[in-house]
Symmetry: C2
Amino acid sequence: MSHITQKRVVVIGAGFGGLWVAKVLAKTNYEVIVIDKNNYHTFLPLLYQVSAAEISPEQIASPVRSIVRKNKNIQFMHGQVSEINYALKYVMCLGQKIAFDYLVVSAGSVNHYFNIPGTAEFAFPLKTLDDAMVLRNHILTCFERASFINDHTQRQRLLTIVIVGGGPTGVEFAGALAELIAGPLKKDFPELKNENIHVYLVEASDRLIGMFPKKLGEYTCKQLKKKDVKVLLNAAVNKIDATGVYLKDGTVLHTETVIWTAGVKGELIKNDLKVQIMPNGRVVVDEYCRVPGYDDVFVIGDLAYCVHDGKPLPMIAPVAMQQGRYVGKHLLQILKGKTPRPFRYIDKGGMVAIGRNKAIAQIAGLHLKGYIAWMIWIFIHILYLIGFKNKIFVMINWVWSYIFFEKSVRLILPRCCNDPRADGCLRRGRNCKV
Amino acid sequence: MSHITQKRVVVIGAGFGGLWVAKVLAKTNYEVIVIDKNNYHTFLPLLYQVSAAEISPEQIASPVRSIVRKNKNIQFMHGQVSEINYALKYVMCLGQKIAFDYLVVSAGSVNHYFNIPGTAEFAFPLKTLDDAMVLRNHILTCFERASFINDHTQRQRLLTIVIVGGGPTGVEFAGALAELIAGPLKKDFPELKNENIHVYLVEASDRLIGMFPKKLGEYTCKQLKKKDVKVLLNAAVNKIDATGVYLKDGTVLHTETVIWTAGVKGELIKNDLKVQIMPNGRVVVDEYCRVPGYDDVFVIGDLAYCVHDGKPLPMIAPVAMQQGRYVGKHLLQILKGKTPRPFRYIDKGGMVAIGRNKAIAQIAGLHLKGYIAWMIWIFIHILYLIGFKNKIFVMINWVWSYIFFEKSVRLILPRCCNDPRADGCLRRGRNCKV
């Protein structure tokens, strides 16, 4: 015990935001408690590759304890925070009150279904590692079922996959899925060689990856079409049910597999804070990433509505990382008795992989596409992936699939999942028993 | 179509037995249908390493289709066979009748609990890849919970693990678990450094690995004790319940984690065959691996009770592989119009890994122990593991954990499993919803 009482920082969420706060505060005079509902950090930018059977879930997950354990001032708690009590300065987790002096909420985002009927019940989300595994299992099971089914209509439904949302996730997954089908699955299922296998990418606006320049969106669209992805623009979804997707223009896509990548929103934990919440659930923060009116409560990442140069910052990993690093430094300034400066976001650009040798990127004002963008994409993703062994494993997988046109994690595993949409479970339905 | 009608061989199970049948019949004039409830072959000898967070489940699983797809005469069907109808020569799978000319049943074994009360409900099995993941999740969650629980008794229960059965699986898992705890978990959970963490290995007979010479069993026992495993011999289990394990001598081991490795049995699918079933569920076969009285029904692997040189063959992988290869050749002899010779088993010995640098082996009459046995163990397991990339990944993992004393797959993933024993699920209980 030092003479000065050690202040405690509680960080909710071990994603890009929370982890970077902890990294900056490592080996300082703060006591840090990081809380997450998973015991691992997920490298979300590669999540779609897990669903596409390209890499293993383990390869984009790193145990939080192994990341923070070198630092004695950081503790990890595995659990879900159920409440923030600011009046008494604690959060509730696992039935315990965890006191804080400073609170950083970096709890990320959840799917936003815009109240479209059936979406929450029948579309597969792609937000967590569990989601990715469920989706992989389901797609592979659809092919297994299609190979032994006599009814033509039903077979067509099983061999049709609809991705809703033409943003980066939808585009990247569509590209990876098209390659999974064209290569390994066509080889695995010779009995389906004369069948039509459809991958649809459905986007409500008139272009793909709207946050990028129009030319890059057009290039992306062309490349996906070359891969046999059916891109539907200006196609708003009216309804989803067990039989398929119903578009506003009357089109019906009959399918067993709808993947939702069309929107996310913030969702703040139950609390007694006076906060302003935007329609998409994000919490308004000031230029110090604080909830206005509170000097000791920070919200960062997807959950934070942070206006910067007149525009709200997007819900992407680089924003969360920079805000995390900023909040860490902000707290260190306080420790030193200095006045922290406001948060400045540096836009380093963005990139989207379309598939083999193809990507688009916008970096330092440059618009790149094709092979060079793809190489940069690979370099950046390996660079930021946490864990040296994960980097090696992912690289081996990529080289392997590049050379052999293979995606080797084609496993329906685990077999039992009690999500009724998960066909990976042979005993389907919510009441499935192990 | 050739002039001679192609005969169809249906193989139930893509384990070591069934897969080897298919391999021998590849590119021959038989039509082969391999049926399995999983879409992958599991390399069971390394299953315990998945539970011990050393390797990923994906690394010991190979998609059956990728193994057989080069051979046009082999088809794979992903489903569970519900019935064998010999009179009409078909098996039922996924609601379809799959006709056969020859049937090979290599469906493996299930846990045998000897009617010990509570075993089926409260003990964790370690027979499938799903089991291994559930167990890994549970053990890691016990440590997470222990780190934030105030009640001392409850913490002790969470930090006590009881393995029932001193055969090869029990010994290998006990050794791997002891190393997981002594290395990574003690580093991950500094807050538990003053706690007693107990691993018990409970065996009903007076020695470990009874099928090996006594000296090797004693060596194994000594090595496990060095690793802080509490080996209890002559310790029969009376009862297991939610609070712990009750031994016949009155000892009670308070724990949340009991792993059952003390016995397996055969379980034949519903059928109309006239078969003789042994008390442990195995199906009696003749010296041609056929069900006596049937020329066209073979049973191999764990499920077969095959007497050889006056003794029944053990339920181990080499027996299944040799029988599989034999049945394949037997069928080829029939195709050539020759008379097949009876099955001869060649005992190539056995081996058990105890941990870092330590194993025992019995090969060609030699009794080996320590480093040399361990090197042979590694070599043999990598040799038989299916898939070149799996070999590389497992090797990297082993080298990594050897150098850094790490077990890096310490992930509670997937998080939701509806097995009430699976603490990996934050919302515990059979009615847990995704």
